[in-house]
Symmetry: C2
Subunit: 284 residues, 2 copies
């Protein structure tokens, strides 16, 4: 999509929460082909990629390429979702400068254990760096009992449509945290679906949200690496417009997490732990 | 999607090229909710994830999680697309066993250079392991001059729809290599979009295809890490149903690669090097 107006607002845009962001989108000169009108030189809004190395207590723990906004939120959410820290209270300082984020933890904690291996498995093509956290948090701190109605799930999933950066560029994923009643807590877009979840969780806990009373809505597939994040950070339910993988479902079942997918047009699949859907009535 | 018939064919399916594959899909028991009919216990076909460690001459070079079929094709394509080898002729042996692929190269070559860092940047959340190839191949072996017509591009992109594993599970990406005339050379589906490209290129070159006369069609976004693969392996054009990122376009422009995106409903964006589209006529 193109317009001179947008060209003049190079790099600026609005994020999921209606705040202005800079540097996330830039224009590229392109040739647009239309079978009725031929070739036309014009401009196109494209999302930007930004490399970031995260160091925890001086040790590099991950390199990612992400959308260049909400970088502190990303760092906090990544550390919580991957089990490096319990929450923002474990962090003494964060400094993001250029392509490096330096995080120092409370002196009483020594969270990073350098490993023998150089990377850890993720799904869908990704690897993560060692070192791993010394004590990986066990999934299972998930709050039991009913959480949301199917009506709340459908209503909230619809609001994933707004995605202002995706509408301009077609280039982002998103993740949104909701309360049990369906109020939006925090949402983010990012070129990476994992990054969107990390930013959203980081932003929400910095704003004081209680993850155990919340649930996470995403647009992308629920592979094991996506299901692991809410299970580790204590969010009891994840729902997606897309499908779950076999391994994502297995991880959800073992972790006690409710996993919902294929959520569209008045129907969804609940892959495991449907007891958190308030109107669920078991039928053989 | 569910049926007893599919439940009885656990794990089996057809791949993009019409061949039977095993172990790629498994069923999960789910609760399907429909707002008109309530909750119903049933079965759902889900894609499986499989971890694979690739070792080159005894050195671990990448860990991925992928769809468990065409693993040798993945390994060959990955090594070519990432610049570790020139082609299958550099490989003395490949053995894939369980979660490990061991590749040995011709004794005259020593391709792997252990690096100081433990991982390399990818986009959209991924990292790759060191070591890197000693001599990264320079992009730029791309054949200049006209390659395809816009009609061929549209016709071929339509055939991305078939994706038999995606139709069953909703859980895969795909990549297909075509000749300049629009004949299908090789196609693959995978839970990872990078993996699909690596498998497709590996399968095509093992079948003797000439990459420099071919072009690559994908469904997913063209971030820099996706654009790098055809540029490195000598495929002169990549086209996608989805958008390119700013950084993907920059890399394509520098590499001499033609990058096409947003290809649907009779129009597309050519982000750079439109001169390979036979019917291209420059207009101011």
């Amino acid at each position: 999509m193109n317009s001179l107006m947008r060209y003049s607002t190079e790099g600026r845009g609005m994020d999921f929460n209606g705040k202005a962001v800079e540097g996330v989108v830039s224009v590229q000169p392109i040739v647009r082909f239309d079978s009725s009108g031929g070739f036309r030189s014009t401009m196109d809004d494209c999302v930007r990629e930004h490399p970031l190395l995260v160091q925890l207590d001086g040790v590099p723990i991950v390199r990612v390429v992400l959308s260049p906004y909400r970088l502190e939120e990303f760092v906090v959410g990544f550390l919580v979702n991957e089990g490096f820290i319990e929450g923002p209270g474990d962090i003494r300082s964060i400094e993001v400068s250029g392509g490096t984020a330096s995080v120092f933890c409370s002196p009483s904690r020594s969270l990073v254990a350098p490993g023998n291996e150089t990377a850890v498995l993720e799904s869908t093509g990704a690897t993560r760096l060692e070192p791993r956290p010394k004590t990986l948090k066990k999934p299972g701190a998930l709050r039991p009992g009913p959480l949301v109605t199917s009506e709340v799930v459908f209503r909230c999933m619809k609001s994933l449509d707004k995605m202002p950066i995706h509408r301009r560029t077609g280039g982002t994923h998103c993740a949104v945290l909701f309360t049990a009643e369906g109020e939006e807590v925090f949402g983010c877009e990012d070129i990476g679906r994992h990054n969107a979840v990390d930013k959203t969780v980081g932003g929400a806990i910095r704003a004081g949200a209680e993850l155990k009373h919340s649930w996470l809505a995403v647009a992308g597939r629920l592979a094991a690496d996506m299901v692991r994040k809410p299970a580790a950070s204590g969010i009891p339910l994840i729902a997606s417009l897309a499908a779950a993988t076999y391994d994502g479902v297995e991880l959800g079942r073992r972790s006690g997490l409710t996993v919902i997918g294929h959520c569209k047009k008045g129907s969804f699949n609940c892959y495991c732990h449907p007891e958190r859907i308030k109107d669920y009535r078991p039928v053989a």
